[in-house]
């Protein structure tokens, strides 16, 4: 009996001891965050907000649309599709064999300036149905090799255009191999129009991605010749056609910058283009276009952006109007308790 007492009292004390500090520590600490009482703004969509939001959008969008349209209208663009015309009549039924033959591929085109074009006038070639964005094609390059002479034999990602007779190709890969090789020469009134082919690529590409100590090696000397050959004495950082070409396009129809004509062209001036139609787009029924275009602050000719802005702005205006009508026809006092579910269908839930 006496032996019980100490143990039971000790137990009692022990439990009291253990519970006392626990009690304090378990009490959640008050903070606005843990009690979910942080000050908050609770905006609600009142009719005024809805209408002003839509109006605001239309007020912003319509001017932007107008300005964009004007900018686009300012741009003058001359497009000449030449892939069929530049094939002699005899070969029109079999263009592929023509392009693969050694026949003379020179072709002359006449372009008439419709409106005054202020310099710089950008010269583009546009290819169609050319899947530069195909995964097999996109992957077939070696960035390290392009950048750095020391990794010139890093061609593992370039298959099937990785080496030629056992020697690594620089620049390797399908993209480089299929470099566009049509050339354009412009003349105005029998006078040569200079085409500036520098600074047509991104500066960062020239400076950081294509090494100035990397020179073409074993390029286009295999059994299959793809596109343009590169001058082995010029470093890649200066081969701007290649740099532009290596920026793979997002869509199968794309334009790439060929050069710049740095002089104004007047209306009705006729430009003679002597072009070498070398590039084979006939295998895949691709079109080829030569484009001369000026730019505005918005870039090239792009009516769509302005139209889209105007459409959305107009739509918002229409929405603002219709909501105004709705609010007028079926007005609901905000916070009107009679709309609460228990007031609308009392009893049955």
């Amino acid at each position: 009996m006496s032996s019980n007492t100490p143990s039971s009292s000790a137990g009692g004390v022990g439990s009291a001891d253990s519970s006392a500090p626990r009690r304090n520590s378990k009490r959640p600490k008050y903070s606005k965050f843990t009690q979910q009482e942080l000050p908050a703004c609770k905006p609600i969509l009142t009719p005024r907000w809805v209408i002003s939001a839509f109006i605001l959008v239309s007020i912003v969008f319509i001017p932007i649309g107008v300005v964009s349209l004007f900018a686009s209208q300012d741009v003058v663009e001359i497009i000449d599709r030449y892939e069929t015309e530049c094939v002699p009549q005899d070969f029109r039924n079999n263009k592929v064999s023509f392009i693969q033959s050694d026949a003379n591929k020179t072709c002359t085109r006449r372009l008439t300036v419709t409106k005054r074009m202020k310099q710089p006038i950008y010269v583009y070639y546009q290819l169609d149905n050319f899947y530069q964005n195909h995964r097999r094609y996109v992957k077939s390059r070696s960035d390290s090799q392009l950048k750095d002479n020391s990794s010139w034999n890093d061609v593992s990602s370039c298959k099937p255009e990785d080496d030629s007779n056992g020697q690594p190709i620089v620049p390797c890969g399908l993209i480089a191999w299929s470099l566009f090789n049509d050339t354009y020469n412009f003349s105005l009134n029998n006078q040569q129009l200079a085409v500036n082919k520098t600074e047509i690529s991104w500066k960062s590409d020239r400076d950081s991605k294509f090494g100035n100590d990397v020179f073409p090696r074993n390029f286009q000397n295999g059994t299959l010749i793809g596109g343009k050959s590169l001058d082995p004495t010029v470093p890649l950082s200066e081969q701007e056609d290649l740099i532009v070409w290596m920026r793979t396009a997002a869509l199968p129809t794309f334009r790439k910058l060929y050069g710049k004509i740095e002089r104004d062209l007047q209306p009705n001036e006729v430009i003679h283009v002597t072009l070498e139609n070398n590039y084979n787009t006939y295998s895949f029924n691709g079109k080829k276009k030569l484009v001369l275009s000026t730019t505005s602050w918005l870039g090239g000719k792009n009516d769509f952006l302005g139209i889209a802005y105007l459409t959305v702005g107009g739509l918002c205006f229409f929405l603002a109007l219709s909501f105004t009508v709705v609010y007028l026809v079926k007005p609901r006092r905000l916070g009107d308790p009679s709309y609460l579910s228990w007031n609308r269908n009392p009893g049955g839930q």
């Binding site: 019980n4 959640p28 960035d143 918005l298 870039g299 889209a308 959305v312 308790p337």
Partner: protein, 1193 residues
């Protein structure tokens, strides 16, 4: 001390009467030793069991899901059991092959992150369980070791050990009781953790081991127990005890079960029979099932839908690829088709197409939000933290906060339809308070119960009644709820402090108190500190009577073998007198008799019969007043019957537990004649004994004289009626499942307002028939009758209650009947199941869960509730009471029932909406993003090229769009917590699933589709082939991809702004932060060496930022994407506003402050029509009071 010891030994012995049969233990011929009965325990030789033939389990328990070794494989298995994760695992493996459209790291890193985070969470949760097990395992118990008893941790207790358990300790394992400090080997145990019953149960040692009651006796103690194998049956035990060459049968009354507690007994000795997981209580526990919320299960279906979409577009893509390969690729000389490898082989387009399928499945994987699971886990953990940290769910008294033990059911809290609740410890405190009494036709006691108080308060607030009610209110202004004495909450100066002597019928009053002080089986215990007596009674209401008698001046202070002594404080002479009553017979209280009688001889030699008994009993179909006592009154003993009945009705309606008290004076001859009869019955042997005894008792208990009635309050936990009321208003149904007696359950039903006067009670009871079919047919008839009654009820305000007991449930839960039973239960406003076993609790829960298909929540506090807690969709444990089983099995634990309101109505509602909105948004976002990849495919000859840089894709889910959506999931509040509580009807948005139905999900998916179309095609057309800046350069794939991605980031974030309605600085920070992060990332990424950033080198600084078209496109796309949604919500809010919209507006315009009348009125209306609950009760009460006042006028 010596004297005290003798008294202690004596005092228990006399208490058992014919309810216990010493010597009638175990019938012989049990198949001990046969199959299923193979266990052999060598007493006091635990080392015997560590060897081969036995090898019993150790006593440590483990409820953890994993062990150190099994964690990795098991947790990984669980993770990859999720379809989405398995898919991503496949993708990660495939990403190591050349088929992958992305770099391997961009596939593996997010997966590793996601899986790692989930596993870390699992590990943490399991660690907590482990710590809890450790706590139990390291509890100490005294174990016999060679010479003496040493303290040992529970986990080291072995089979065969002799243990000594002391008062108020839990038994460490299943024990065979050898002896107790009482000479007759009786001990009392509390089995609340096992079956929820609160009364103490006597256990009795075998006579042969009674002498082993000292520590020294066990030195040479040997014996062998042969018994049944471990099994989950709590109420049976079959075994033999071989001791000193003799074999004795053991029956359940010698078995002390683990998790029950020794009470009213100083110590016991026992032999360990079943340890650890072999013990009956552990055998009863089932593996805690992993529960998933309804939303998550539905989310799986959405994922399947997305998988189908993924499969379809992959098929389209592969088909397109194969066609392109076959027909176009031969012309694509720039791709060297003649040297194509197996993936691009024009000669075998089918093979290429199939291998492309793998690529496509990976590429479009962005449709399946990989970070969805992990974001949900993060959100849920944070939500759980809010639940844990909620100061309004912290109980100051016990010092325990609410706890979300598993965080994956938070949103389920917002969808609960039915609550299944335990009674004792959950609704009630297991404490009885003496509240009122009616003596000789006069009602005493002014402490009003909660219902009365509220009714009067509400009437007082009602201006119409103000004047009339002033009288009522003033009489109630002194509230009686300040009693400091446990078990006594009585206030009436007419009886207190000896004033009863001045009352007109003082003789009757004195007799009334004497009956209270004498007619019981309790034992007084002197509290040496205070000098007053406390009582150890078998049931708490008996204790309350004694406390009341003491407070009235009739202090029971001594019990001997044959007498009870009461000190009367207030006497005519003014000096206290001790009166001794010789106890002649005790006819004990049993659930069948529902009454207790003592026959005593007072000091004057007068033989008195004192009787207390239930005043009401449940009839077969409807509850009638069939009185136990009233039937037994003599003709002239009914003098007070009318008044007493009225009082009893009032008490009963107030939810009080009532007993009627009666007595009669006996002549010596009359008594002795009966006593011979009774003794004869008592000593008779055979099956008739019970019947004979009952007959004898019946003979004596009649011609009684009614003296009065008592009203005891089964003390409810704080705030329970209010909470039940609120939950009912929120449209939740409440079923009470209790192990307690039917009367207690009904009383509590009244106290909690689950039942009220005027409610039609359908009571289903099995008949006492041995033929099972008959019983079933009868029950079926009762159920059908009940259903029919409900169907035929014309009064729309009529409400029904279903009351059923465990015995009947056995049949009602059988397959052929359960649906009818459920159907009846669902139609009733409240359902009370009493005397149900833990198993039945679980079965009922399962029936409700599966039968109604709605979300169920089970709440309970004891081990007997574990089954239902695990079975229900959500299990809530009441923490703070002893025994952690319920809490350990639960998903959430609160320390008080009343916190359930906040847990469901506030946290549940919020979590439901948060998770629902978050998941919808997630699907939107991934569809909007993932489909742009698909569209782009069509423009690349289906080659599997992605327009975005790998790093954009990697960051998209993990960094760029995750935080805003997490802040939506954690912090969004449609309405504030006060409004949630004030407008319980808003809760119904969850159970009706307004925010996660297919209409809404598909709407969001459609929105995602629209966004993807707008984003992609606007960008494509704008960047088609034109120069995009003044320098004449055209956009390459990276420029287009980056612009498109910028548009996506903007669109998604504006979308989430439109979705949210609650902006704290955190939301602002995450949303605008995620946009800023994108630009920062672009700048930083572009500034890195081109080896890393590749085409994205300097993209922002050099190419995009200077180009106005980049910014104008972003603006155009971001606005256009969100126009449809904006128009939709504006339209919806204007014409079909939802409840929370209106309340937001009221709050926004501060109408709740300006027009408080309206605000209050709407709160009153914002309730589901309830037929149960406090409000319904109060309204009924108001009607009653009003009619009373009219009568007076």
């Amino acid at each position: 001390m010596a004297k005290g010891r003798i008294r202690r030994k004596l005092r228990k012995s006399h208490l058992y009467t014919f309810c216990l049969y010493p010597g009638a233990a175990g019938k012989c011929g049990q198949p001990v030793g046969g199959p299923g009965f193979s266990r052999t325990v060598h007493c006091n030789e635990p080392q015997m069991h560590s060897q081969k033939p036995f090898k019993y389990r150790a006593n440590d328990i483990s409820t953890t899901k994993y062990s150190f070794l099994s964690f990795l494989p098991k947790a990984l298995y669980e993770q990859f059991n999720r379809v989405a994760n398995l898919y991503f695992l496949g993708c990660a493996i495939a990403s190591l092959t050349p088929l992958s459209p992305f770099s391997a790291v961009s596939m593996i890193a997010p997966l590793a992150f996601v899986v790692g985070l989930s596993m870390a969470k699992e590990a943490l949760e399991d660690w907590r369980r482990f710590m809890q097990d450790m706590e139990v395992n390291s509890r100490k118990v005294k174990v016999h070791a060679g010479e003496a008893f040493d303290k040992k941790a529970w986990q080291n207790v072995r089979v065969g050990d002799v243990v000594r358990v002391e008062k108020d300790q839990f038994f460490p394992s299943d024990l065979l009781l050898l002896s107790s400090n009482n000479e007759d080997g009786i001990c009392y145990v509390e089995t609340m953790n096992l079956d929820g019953e609160t009364n103490l149960k006597p256990k009795r040692a075998l006579e042969v081991t009674l002498d082993l009651d000292e520590d020294e006796d066990f030195k040479n103690f040997k014996g062998i127990i042969k018994c049944e194998d471990p099994n989950p049956s709590l109420y049976t035990f079959v075994g033999n005890f071989e001791y000193n060459g003799q074999v004795y049968a053991i029956d359940p009354s010698q078995i002390l079960l683990r998790d029950s507690k020794l009470r009213n007994t100083a110590f016991v000795y026992g032999i360990v029979i079943f340890t650890g997981h072999d013990s009956k209580v552990m055998q009863n526990s089932t593996k805690s099932p992993s529960k998933r919320s309804r939303i998550e299960r539905k989310m799986d279906y959405i994922i399947y839908v997305l998988f189908s979409v993924l499969l379809v577009i992959s098929l389209i893509s592969s088909f397109g690829f194969a066609v392109e390969i076959k027909y176009s690729m031969p012309g694509w000389w720039f791709m060297r088709p003649q040297e194509a490898d197996e993936y691009y082989n024009p000669r075998e387009p089918v093979t290429s197409g199939i291998s492309h399928m793998v690529t496509a499945l990976m590429l479009y994987g962005y449709l399946i939000p990989i970070s969805l699971y992990v974001s949900i886990e993060v959100v849920k953990v944070l939500q759980a933290t809010f639940i844990n940290q909620d100061i309004l769910m912290y109980d100051e008294e016990t010092g325990i906060p609410a706890q979300a033990r598993t965080s994956n059911l938070n949103e389920e809290l917002g969808q609960v339809d039915t609550i299944l609740s335990d009674k004792t410890g959950t609704l009630t405190c297991n404490q009885m308070d003496f509240l009122k009494c009616s003596i000789a036709g006069t009602a005493y006691g002014s402490s009003s119960s909660d219902v009365e108080l509220a009714a009067e308060q509400q009437m007082a607030n009602d201006p119409v009644n103000k004047v009339e009610l002033e009288a009522v209110v003033s009489s109630l202004s002194e509230k009686g709820h300040k009693s400091s004495i446990k078990g006594f909450n009585f206030e009436d100066s007419r009886l207190m402090n000896g004033n009863c002597l001045k009352e007109p019928k003082q003789e009757d009053i004195m007799l009334f108190f004497r009956i209270l002080a004498v007619c019981h089986t309790a034992i007084p215990e002197l509290n040496e500190e205070t000098g007053s007596y406390t009582y150890e009674a078998e049931s708490p209401d008996e204790g309350a009577f004694l406390v009341a008698a003491r407070e009235f001046g009739f202090e029971f202070f001594q019990r001997t073998q044959s007498s009870v002594t009461v000190r009367e404080k207030y006497t005519a002479s003014g000096n206290p007198i001790d009166r001794e009553y010789k106890i002649l017979n005790v006819l004990e209280f049993t659930s069948k008799r529902k009454r207790m009688t003592v026959i005593v001889r007072d000091e004057d030699g007068q033989i008195l019969l004192m009787c207390k008994g239930a005043d009401r009993l449940v009839s077969l179909l409807y509850l009638d007043l069939i009185s136990i006592i009233f039937d037994r009154l003599s003709k002239d003993g009914r003098f007070y019957q009318e008044d007493t009945t009225r009082h009893l009705n009032e008490y009963g309606e107030a939810g009080l537990r009532t007993l009627a008290l009666a007595y009669k004076k006996l002549e010596e001859s009359e008594y002795s004649a009966w006593n011979t009869e009774f003794q004869k019955a008592k000593t008779s042997i055979g099956a008739d004994r019970d019947i004979m005894l009952e007959k004898a008792a019946e003979m004596m208990e009649r011609d009684l004289i009614l003296i009065g009635a008592t009203a005891v309050e089964d003390k409810l936990q704080k705030g329970v009626p209010k909470c039940i009321d609120k939950l009912a208003q929120a449209g939740l149904k409440l079923w009470v499942l209790t192990g307690d007696k039917m009367e207690t359950a009904i009383n509590i039903g009244y106290a909690c307002s689950l039942l009220r006067q005027g409610m039609k009670q359908i009571c289903i009871q099995a008949t006492d028939s041995d033929v099972k079919e008959e019983v079933k047919v009868d029950i079926l008839k009762q159920i059908n009758n009940g259903s029919q009654t409900i169907r035929e009820e014309k009064d729309p305000y009529a409400s029904f209650a279903l009351i059923i007991d465990g015995k009947t449930l056995v049949y009602a839960l059988e397959d052929d009947m359960k649906h009818r039973f459920l159907d009846l239960g669902v139609r009733c406003a409240s359902v009370i199941c009493c005397r149900v076993s833990p198993k039945q609790k679980a079965l009922v829960t399962r029936l409700v869960k599966q039968g109604t298909g709605k979300t169920t929540l089970a709440i309970g506090d004891g081990a007997n509730d574990v089954g239902m807690i695990q079975e229900a969709d959500i299990g809530v444990g009441i923490s703070g009471v002893e025994g952690m089983q319920a809490v350990m099995a639960s998903d959430f634990s609160v320390s008080q029932f009343r916190f359930l309101e906040r847990l469901l109505v506030v946290h549940g509602h919020w979590c439901y909406k948060r998770i629902a909105q978050m998941i919808c948004y997630f699907f939107y976002k991934n569809i909007a993003f993932g489909l742009t990849l698909f569209y782009f495919e069509a423009f690349t000859g289906f080659s599997g090229q992605s327009v975005y840089d790998d790093w954009y894709m990697l960051l998209f889910n993990v960094v760029l769009t995750s935080l805003p959506v997490i802040s939506l999931g954690v912090l969004e509040q449609d309405v504030s917590s006060e409004v949630c509580l004030e407008f319980p009807a808003i809760y119904q948005q969850g159970p009706r699933n307004l925010f996660f139905d297919w209409y809404r999900i598909l709407g969001w998916m459609g929105n995602g589709l629209l966004a993807s179309l707008i984003i992609f095609f606007l960008n494509i057309v704008i960047f088609y082939n034109q120069a995009f800046c003044i320098g004449g350069q055209t956009a390459d794939m990276t420029a287009l991809g980056t612009t498109m991605f910028t548009c996506i980031i903007w669109s998604l974030n504006i979308q989430i702004v439109l979705t949210m309605s609650h902006f704290t600085w955190i939301q602002h920070a995450t949303i605008w932060g995620s946009i800023v992060t994108w630009y920062l990332f672009l700048a930083v990424y572009g500034a890195l060496s081109p080896d890393i950033s590749r085409d994205a080198y300097q993209i922002l600084v050099e190419a995009l930022a200077p180009a106005p078209i980049y910014w104008t496109t972003t603006l155009l796309v971001a606005v256009t994407c969100n126009l449809p949604y904006m128009a939709h919500i504006a339209y919806q809010r204007c014409l079909k506003p939802m409840d929370h919209h209106i309340i937001q507006e009221i709050k926004y315009y501060r109408k709740d402050v300006e027009d408080q009348h309206m605000w209050k009125r709407e709160q009153l209306k914002a309730r589901q029509k309830t037929k149960i609950g406090f409000t319904a009760r109060v309204e009924a009460k108001i009607r009653q009071l009003r009619s009373k006042m009219h009568k007076k006028q």
